[in-house]
Amino acid sequence: MNAIDIRKDFPILDQKVNGKDLIYFDTSATSQTPAKVIEAMNDYYREYNSNVHRGVHTLGTKATDGYEQTRMKVKNFINAKRYEEIVFTRGTTAAINLVARSFGDMIVGADDEIVVTEMEHHANIVPWQQLARRTGAKLVFIPMEADGTITLESVESVVSERTKIVAITHVSNVLGTINDIKEIAKIAHRNDAYISVDGAQAVPHMTVDVQDLDVDFYAFSGHKMLGPTGIGVLYGKSELLDKMEPIEYGGDMIDFVDLRESTWTDLPVKFEAGTPMIAEAIGLSAAIDYITEIGPEAILDYEQELVNYAYGRMSEIEGIEIYGPKERAGLITFNLDGVHPHDLATALDTEGIAVRAGHHCAQPLMKWLDVSSTARASFYVYNTREEIDEFIESLKRTKEFFSYEF
């Protein structure tokens, strides 16, 4: 894997921000888009923009093929058993909401428990809170270790015969913790519970095999894996999706419509009411091609190299606090003593460095960390050690700037 060559595929990276070469360390929020993905969507709009699953004309057929071939590509990419198990959604958030609404309402009752963790993104807490409120079920949290990890013993101690769903992230967007989903799925299933996984921070960065993990639901987003915004994926085991009711109704998802009642079409379109994200699906297809060409293992190795290097260099800075375990995905969340993260992010931005500052849509986790907000640098295939060196120097200058007695 050669990051210097890869960078050439990303037109956006070739620019100056505030007079300095852009250093983009905010991939965990959204990844950048290679030219091939932009071109794929461009070609669609220039050459075969048409609605899917409807017309018999040539453009319509081509658009439908493009859309459905993406589904096949996603199926192979995450090794789903069947094509019908891939539902396109607006993103991870919409996918999790679909599971909580449709599947949750179907199987959760007043005496049941829904198990989550304190490291979840709001998208994987609020839908379950609402499900608990609707059904009267109890929301239970798996306790975290001091370093922001979860042990299987803790999972065992919380998951019981009362548990109906375990909802957990694969990779924490703040701590970088990589959860052992395969083992957690076994514990859930031993207790006759189901497992729903937020994979938004995992799929772009490592091999994900949903059959090997044996998860019941798995959600992720296109825009964090080099694809466009506005498209995501819900994987669900077909026997579960089959039993679930749609939560949106309209065109495309119907089988037969009478004046007073209707029936639904088969999976997966049953869950895709209305004109879907056609251009976005075609863009996602090109993004998967791009990732596949590099190889998820090579991506993971390279990110590990970057994050370990960054961790080591950042640790040298006096007054820095890094949150989360040493063994982590390619992101580092931190605070610099005496500098509020927003001031830090503004200072870095004046030097062309984009990092995230705030609560990262994880307010319960901020509370657990006992901070109001943090800064986060996240890395991907187009980042380099040289950029990390620049970042370290800029951090040091920022610290010095704010330590003046004004």
């Binding site: 509020h340 503004t346 200058r397």
Partner: protein, 146 residues
């Protein structure tokens, strides 16, 4: 070191208010208490005021946030102490105009608030600067409707 822009944003008077905030704390028996969050970043502020005959006799703030939001709150408390409520609100209007880069009318008797003029060059930070003023506006509105 290329922090010229940063120097404009973080002028010494701002950092002084940040590091030595004025009127920090809570008025235990205040006539008006208002809480405000900035949900996008986690900043939060609580204003307590003692308003007598429509005049801000005393005001204190506490909260958590970046230098811009906390300095702005500190400056605001100085600016509105002793002022009539409607005057305090109109100062907030002028402050908003300054943030938006429009013509504004801020006079010397309003203390240091004009030092924040440079924030309008940093669109992502305007909400930080206006948090305390928005809290004031919300508090007055709520007390009017009671």
């Amino acid at each position: 070191m290329n922090f010229n822009n940063l120097n404009q944003l973080y002028r010494s008077v701002i950092m002084d208010h940040y590091k030595n905030p004025r009127n920090k704390g809570v008025i235990e028996d205040g006539t008006l208490t208002v809480d405000m969050n900035n949900p996008t970043c986690g900043d939060r502020i609580r204003l307590t005021l003692n308003v007598v005959d429509d005049v801000v006799e005393d005001v204190k703030f506490e909260g958590e946030g970046c230098s811009i939001s906390m300095a702005s709150a500190s400056m605001m408390t100085e600016a509105i102490t002793g002022q009539k409520l409607d005057k305090a609100l109109s100062m907030g209007d002028e402050f908003s105009k300054m943030m938006l880069g429009e013509d504004y009318d801020i006079t010397d008797d309003m203390g240091d608030i004009e030092a924040l003029a440079g924030v309008n060059q940093f669109p992502a930070r305007i909400k930080c600067a206006t948090l305390s003023w928005k809290a004031l506006e919300k508090g007055v509105k709520e007390s009017d409707s009671e």
